[in-house]
Amino acid sequence: MSTLNRTLIILLGALLVAIGVWALSQTAWAVAFADGVIAANQARMDAAYAITAAAGRAGGGYIATAGNLARIIGIAGLVIGMSLLMEQRKKRRPKAAYCKP
């Protein structure tokens, strides 16, 4: 299969996802979902602003890159740690006795 065909298959997959999301956006659920998230975000921002104002600091100027990198490292570390733990457990587990049929 040529590279062009493979690329078209990948783009077709992305297009199918896009069509699905587009169909979802046309439902009443999408509007209700958006409104719900906006209300929750507003409440969270109001609370954060109240805390910042009470502490006498100014908001804004926050750069998310370091936070995102820390999140990625944290989650990846957790997954690696868990897989290492599972590997160790697997090694410790005694092997079942092999019986010749």
Partner: protein, 182 residues
Amino acid sequence: MPVRAAAAGAAGGEAEMKPEKRRSNPTKVNLLLDAAIFVAFLLALDPRLTGIAIHEWLSLAAGAAVVVHLLLHWEWIVGVTRRFFGRTSGAARLNYVVDALFFIDLAVIMFSGIMVSQAILPALGLTAPAGSFWRILHSLSADWAVILVAVHTALHWKWIVNAVKRYVLRPIGVARRPEAVQ
């Protein structure tokens, strides 16, 4: 001129004097491409840092790089798709599921990003429909992508460590202590 080309030229005459094409190392290419995608993804996650125009064009370039990444791993994708319900390892299955979710998430990010585009679409003379649903979906899918990129990275941790040791750390060590090679 590469040594092999010179030797071939000496043995075979004028016709074989052409320098041999250097074959690229797939691991090295993958490492470079993946590192570039990771950095682009990290920067694109923060439009306040880059500005909207860079955020959009960088994301589009990263999307194209992801397509190249998929093309480079095409054999694996086809192989595991065929064997998914048959004989394959649990690790391959887990990788496949995470990668499929990641692909869907990236497609959602790209599509919702196009729907709220403020730089690319206007540059093409088009207007985005916008709307709060698309903004929220763009933001939520980006949050999910952070988790998925972390899991995807963790599942390939051993490969990353080996490739970095081989193609980044070892060459640096050799450059610092050239006498160690001789």
